[in-house]
Amino acid sequence: MIKEEGHIGLLEATVLVYAILSAKLFMQAPGFLIEAGGPAAWQAALVMTAAGLLLLLPVGALARRFPGQGLPQIAEAVGGPVLGSLFSLYVLAWLFATTANSLRNFTEVYIGTILPNTPPSVLTFVALFCMAYGSYRGLESVGRATQVLLPVILAGIVLVLVFSMPRLQLSRLYPFWGHGLVYTVSGGAYNAGLLAEAIVVLILAYSLRDAKNVRKAGMLGVALFGLLSALTCAVLVMIFGAPDAAQQPFPLFNLSQLVYLGRFMQRTEALIVMFWFFNVAVRLIVLFHALVVTLTGMLRLPYHRPVIFPMAVLLFSTSLLPEDTLVVLRIMRDWLTPSGLGILFVPFLLLALALIRGKGVQSHAA
């Protein structure tokens, strides 16, 4: 396995999964949910969470069968060199596309909101430096740093929601069923692809000491994210109204611009955006690290550090490929989300294959 890598515990893993997913709340994820569900976006969010949790169930069994190993090793053990590599390649490609898209998206958010004149390459470079440094330091440091920064990360969302409370108008949540239950459920299930980054917990399963923590961490992180995204969608709809909120590329940023509590607490969105940086940085670092680890596992290299620099360069150039902001959004909505659904089926398929072929450590009597 990969040397020089430490161990992380259950709490750190949960926090990492949560941080990865919740960074999407600052971008367009609530917008997609509101587009799908209208005033019933919160229901779509809950459906999405349920779908994601269901699809994550096999992760625990897989981790128990192959203790101390990550996704590339499991895929190879289960599927043999060809099929296993195909699985790993699929996950790798999707992860790469997501990371590049996230990187670009995140840069666009910051340029669009608080730093209008800075060229994107500068911000991308800074973000990539953080990612490379984090991956260099190892997962353990990242887990610990996230735990230390957890209050700040949570405050980034909770503060915005709490300070917007004076503007809530319950009547905007009606009509209650949005565009109709069928529409809501299908939209929510489609958007379950937004949860696909939770596969990271399987990729990094080797660093968790206890195998059953893998599933717990993944599911807890997803559940927490689901709850928070339902809350965010509800608040956004209650404040902006469904048609308007679906048309905003950065709904939470608009919300933070609206914070107006008397004479003193006004126009504090720059500060809140700074809190978001920690969340997004954790997301990017962990995604990058998962990418590096997958590649290292596929190529059966003993150390992951040499892969960091080339991967960073590749990401830099790929992230600058889309022409404008809207292309980035469309890529996320039309390509990454459905293929994300496919990613969520991967643990299921791997487990089925493992059961059929009888690979892996059979768990002794519970």
């Binding site: 503007r167 009547s171 009509p175 949005g178 109709g180 608009n254 107006y260 004479r263 126009r267």
Partner: protein
């Protein structure tokens, strides 16, 4: 060793690039902060946009020497300038050509629109404020009687130096008088228009010209005035009273202070205010009460018949402030009489307000927000088209009023001879 030195040199060279031009950095004294924008119909171009720019040293009192503020008081703390331009963004770029500092909308607090423009073509300039990064949705949206440029120029607050602080403080008066809209920032406006459950109301401000005889309505009430028509003298020369009712983008009517109050009661946002009604025992004298909200508002909407029927129940409580006759309203029968008189007066005002809004065909009160709860899906709601039904709907309002407190005196003090 040499390689390391070369690497260090390259690193320093790389650092020089970001240091040479920090793209977003600007010092505070390089920017001209616009505190308020005024938009009017333009002669040569689509709009006349006025900028009220803060002059820091006059406004803030400056650093050293003469800390007593703008000594003479004749120096205005704002710099006003108007530009004719097709859009507000265009106006910004034109203003940059003659102002030494870069125009920045980051501290803009209010948007004033002239009434003429509001009635005619309305607010499709709103998109600018929603889309442009520097402008924010918390800008107050105020319609002015007359031209906004005149308003900005002549506005002169007395208790504050900063006109924008003055405006901001004025909007807080909703908490104790209830005669202005509960909130009228661009945010509320855009959301209401976009979702269509109700129609927006904005602040309405007017300059008060001294020395004009107010023939006006001749009401003896304290609240039934529109902005600009208050019979008064002295104080700041701005009346921020009542509201401007909109239907989608266009302004359709002006609401008086008492209309505004009724609207707030029907919106469940009324906090407290002072009402004066004719004394039921002696109709040419008056009683003043301070009323505030009791129970939350209840609205029953019935859409089954040919016309939608809406019934609102408002529960209020009150405190007696002034009694001019010698009726002792602390006695139970007289108390009931007073309560009923109050109820009657309030219900009558509500009726007049509702008929006014139905006449203008705009649901500013917000009954649509109650009606929408009866529809299961968005498609059903949009098929129903509430805004078309509003004109013909049967809307009635019930007021329940209880007198709770009577001040420090029970029976009014009267001369012994009576």
């Amino acid at each position: 060793m040499r390689r390391r030195r070369l690497a260090a040199f390259l690193l320093v060279l790389m650092l020089a690039f970001p240091l040479a031009g920090c793209w977003d950095r600007s010092e505070l004294e390089e920017e001209a902060f616009v505190l308020a924008i005024g938009v009017d119909k333009g002669k040569q171009s689509l709009y006349t946009v006025s900028f009220a720019i803060a002059h820091p040293s006059r406004l803030a009192g400056g650093g050293k020497g003469g800390g007593g503020g703008g000594g003479g008081g004749d120096e205005k703390p704002l710099v006003l300038t108007s530009v004719e331009a097709p859009t507000v963004a265009g106006a910004i770029s034109m203003a940059n050509s003659y102002l030494s500092r870069r125009v920045s909308l980051r501290h803009t607090k209010a948007l004033f629109m002239g009434e003429e423009l509001a009635r005619q073509s309305g607010m499709f300039t709103m998109d600018e404020f929603v889309r442009f990064r520097q402008a924010r949705r918390t800008i107050f949206y105020i319609v002015t009687k007359g031209k906004a440029a005149d308003f900005l120029e002549k506005m002169k607050p007395t208790l504050e130096k900063d006109p924008q602080r003055y405006i901001e403080q004025m909007t807080y008066s909703v908490r104790h008088t209830g005669m202005v809209p509960a909130a009228s920032q661009i945010q509320q406006y855009v959301t209401l228009v976009n979702t269509g459950y109700a129609q927006p109301i904005t602040y309405y401000a007017a300059l008060h010209e001294e020395g004009e005889e107010q023939s006006g309505k001749g009401t003896t009430q304290t609240e039934g005035y529109k902005a600009g028509e208050l019979p008064r003298k002295g104080g700041a020369n701005v009346d921020l009273l009542g509201g401007a009712a909109f239907r989608n983008e266009k302004m359709v009517g002006v609401l008086t202070g008492e209309d505004m109050r009724m609207i707030l009661m029907l919106q469940d946002k009324f906090r407290r205010g002072i009402v004066s009604i004719p004394d039921p025992s002696k109709p040419d004298l008056f009683v003043s009460l301070e009323i505030h909200q009791g129970r939350p508002l209840r609205i029953d909407a019935n859409l089954s018949g040919p016309k939608p029927r809406i019934h609102a129940t408002v529960t209020l409580e009150g405190e007696l402030l002034t009694v001019q006759s010698n009726a002792d309203y602390t006695e139970p029968e007289l108390q009931t009489k007073l309560e009923q008189a109050t109820v009657g007066a309030l219900e009558q005002r509500m009726r007049s307000l509702i008929s006014k809004t139905q006449q203008w065909d705009t649901d500013v009160i917000g009954f649509g927000q109650e009606v929408v709860k009866q529809f299961p899906t968005v498609e059903a709601w949009e098929r129903y088209r509430w805004q078309d039904w509003y004109k013909t709907a049967e809307i009635s309002a019930d007021v329940r009023f209880t007198l709770r407190r009577f001040g420090k005196q029970l029976s009014p003090p009267r001369p012994r001879e009576q």
